[in-house]
């Protein structure tokens, strides 16, 4: 569908897009004609937004109705979560989120739901938290970092986005494992972390591979290590912490969630048509173009992954005294 319209030029494409949006093709879908909303608990323009848009651009053909991406970053993402939680349980309102607003918030914030109220429909991808620095910094490897932190405890400054987020928890876990101490400096996000590191204001930082892959390839940044079981496909030369001898692995994911009370058949239909859409040549081409590394998991596998994450995040938060 996208390939067809991309041949159209200019205003015709815009009109075609509007028409497409208004006239869904597969009317045999159990979802009827009402649009599906993919609600993201973050602002527009980020990785989750961009990834969700691949689905919204390709899945209507397979799912039936039109699919909109709605961004609600209010209340640190909890507004989006609560909005989906309170929407009618008909599969038309879904949450696309990493573990922060669902798993971590479910532990540390006062919310009216618990982790069992969420049902994974599908997982887009796994994100591997990566430690990096600038190339002229004395720390250039995991070993350098450990040596520097042992020689002068509490002197290495480490930038990460929001506290307890997916690029901070791995650091906490690593420190618990090794007994090392660093200065944790929260930033407003990946962009700020990166400019503070490049400007020499911070020593190390954590981010996700896709956002630094180009700079690492061109020698502007050094990726030191990845907190995952296996190396990242976009940073093939960067070792994992496991390879360096530290059993610390805390990959993040990006899942589509429905609430627990959505009927089983609806979840299955959504899972099937989402997986089918993401396997289409258009979706694969788009995924490659945006470097999203989409490797979808079905509902059952995603559920296993989700429950494992709830388990491990709970353990970390208990170990640092954040929850009882």
């Amino acid at each position: 569908m996208i390939l067809n319209t991309s041949k159209l030029k200019g205003p015709a494409a815009a009109i075609a897009m509007t028409l497409m949006a208004l006239s869904p093709i597969g009317s045999a879908s159990p979802l009827g004609n009402d649009p599906i909303r993919l609600v993201i608990p973050f602002g527009p323009g980020g990785g989750s937004d961009i990834t969700a848009r691949v689905l919204s651009a390709t899945a209507p053909e397979f799912c039936g109705p039109r699919i909109d991406v709605v961004s609600m970053s209010g209340a640190a993402g909890l507004e989006a979560v609560n909005f989906v939680r309170n929407a009618p349980a008909n599969g038309h309102t879904l949450l696309v989120s990493d573990y922060g607003p669902v798993v971590t918030s479910g532990f540390v914030d006062s919310v009216s739901w618990n982790h069992d109220d969420w049902q994974p429909v599908m997982n887009f991808t796994e994100w591997l938290p990566t430690v990096y620095t600038r190339p002229d910094h004395p720390i250039q490897s995991i070993e350098d970092w450990v040596a520097a932190a042992r020689a002068n405890p509490g002197t290495v400054t480490f930038g990460h986005a929001a506290p307890l987020g997916l690029v901070h928890l791995p650091l906490i876990l690593f420190e618990a494992e090794t007994g090392l101490e660093n200065i944790h400096v929260p930033t407003s996000g990946g962009g700020e972390t990166r400019s503070l590191i490049m400007g020499g204001h911070l020593d190390l930082g954590m981010t996700l591979p896709a956002s630094i892959a180009a700079e690492v390839a061109s020698g502007q940044l050094t990726a030191i290590g990845v907190f995952s079981d296996e190396r990242s496909s976009v940073l093939p030369d960067t070792p994992t912490f496991r390879e360096a001898g530290y059993e610390v692995s805390l990959p993040a994911w990006l899942m589509v969630f429905a609430t627990r009370d959505v009927p089983k058949e609806t979840i299955e239909h959504l899972q099937d048509c989402f997986m089918e859409a993401l396997a289409s040549p258009t979706a694969i081409a788009m995924s490659n173009r945006i470097n999203a590394g989409i490797t979808p998991l079905n509902s059952a596998d995603s559920t296993v992954l989700y429950q494992a994450t709830v388990e491990s995040i709970g353990t970390i938060l208990r170990s640092i005294g954040e929850i009882n």
């Binding site: 996208i2 319209t5 991309s6 159209l8 030029k9 200019g10 494409a13 815009a14 075609a16 897009m17 602002g43 527009p44 323009g45 937004d49 961009i50 848009r53 919204s56 651009a57 709605v70 961004s71 609600m72 970053s73 209010g74 209340a75 640190a76 909890l78 507004e79 909005f83 914030d109 919310v111 509490g154 400054t157 929001a162 506290p163 307890l164 200065i183 944790h184 400096v185 929260p186 930033t187 407003s188 962009g191 700020e192 990166r194 400019s195 503070l196 490049m198 400007g199 020499g200 204001h201 911070l202 956002s211 180009a214 700079e215 061109s218 502007q220 788009m286 173009r289 945006i290 470097n291």
Partner: protein
Amino acid sequence: MLDAFINALYLAFSPEVILYVAIGVLMGITLGAIPGLSGDMAIAILLPIVFFLEPAAALGLLTGIYKGGMFGGSISAISFGVPGTPGSAATAIDGYQAKLKGYPNKALNTALYSSVIGDTSSDFVLIFLALPLAILALTFGPVEFFALYAFSLLLISALTKGRVAKGVAMAALGILLAMIGRDPIGGSIRLTFGIPELAGGLALIPVLVGIFAVSELIIQLAKAWMERTQRIMDAARMQAQSLLGDYDASQDKLTFREFRATMKATWIGTTMGTLIGALPGAGSSLAAFISYGLAQRFSRNRDAFGKGSLEGVAAAEAGNSATSGSTLIPLFAFGIPGSATAALFGAAFILMGMTPGPRLIYDHTEVIYALFLILIYANVINLALSYFLLPLYSKIAMIQSRILLPIVCVLAILGTFAAGNSVIDVWVLLFAGLLGVVLRIYHFPLAPLILGFIVAPGAERALRQSLLIGRGEWSHLLSSPIAIGLYATAAIMILTFTVIMRERK
């Protein structure tokens, strides 16, 4: 290189792309003029269009929206005293006063010319000076940022003589309001009084629109009610009023002399806007306020500021618009999105398969050259379109407020809801409106409140990051020459300003 440039010329000046830029500019002006809605929102909604259009056409549309939105915000700032976008909050200070004196057209024209001058200069800086400026921007760490924020707060709080204490109090109130929600460093929730929806803090748009627009509406309502009671007692005063009141459009033309008199302010705004725009995270409202404050300090007609000074409009609007080119500098030089707009442009590049960063211009030379050309000529289109539309806008501005304000307020509430899809934002809007009424009645200046609210998150983060890095030593705040320079400049400016003011008495 020359080949690439010629191809880029063909790309940028194809009729289709020009049409998209023009559509974008029109959309941007319209959305920017509606309080609560901004060009950024339209760009976010229209992002998927990059899947459907050629890169040059898509970038043309987004650029047009961005530039139109930058200027559009000043239309409602001047016409209704309600900044259409956060960046035009400083424009509202003098622009609305100018309108109240009966010359909205002069103010709007000043805003347009200074906006286009600021924007175009900034685009040239992006094209020719991106790398040196980006490297300079990287020297700004937490210590330097905190100094910059402190500088801006001092500058704006001490803006009006005799009201410095009120100004400082308002800045403090703004900072306090901005602290509601999640502590950016510790992550705990503070000052929410147990209301879970406030955990994310008060959003900027509802606070801005509430303080400026809703409070104005409430005051006008009260006034109308008083007048009505008056009228029942005094029936003779009843007379039919024309829709436009006694506005005389022929008396409201910007003369060349008036335009020339604003040039100094425009260049101050252009310089500050370009520099501040290049700093990741600083933003267009900060640039506009600093430009306004500096232009007042360096103006010969200092006393006219706050009372409808065209220089005030020019400085604020040039400062706001001059961020538009330079905000893309960190994105082009290092792949760092320095602002919400830059993040959206970054996303557009990614969706088109282009990775933002230093390789961008080498890997996609033609498209990027075309974008540079579009950035420049979009200003010309903006100038041309706005030139024809402004007389219309000034007439709208002079429609009597009893008709206009309710419409503006409905648009503001809808716009606020659309911005965050959030009902709590509408409540914040109404409460901010009530707060605005109280502050207006007791003559508290609103600008320091808004600036305090806008810079507080960044200033708090910068302060606490500095202290974390300096391991709790406050002397770390003076560890950088840039920071010391900023503090010294602020001190000297405030001292000379006070002395000059005292001598004039």
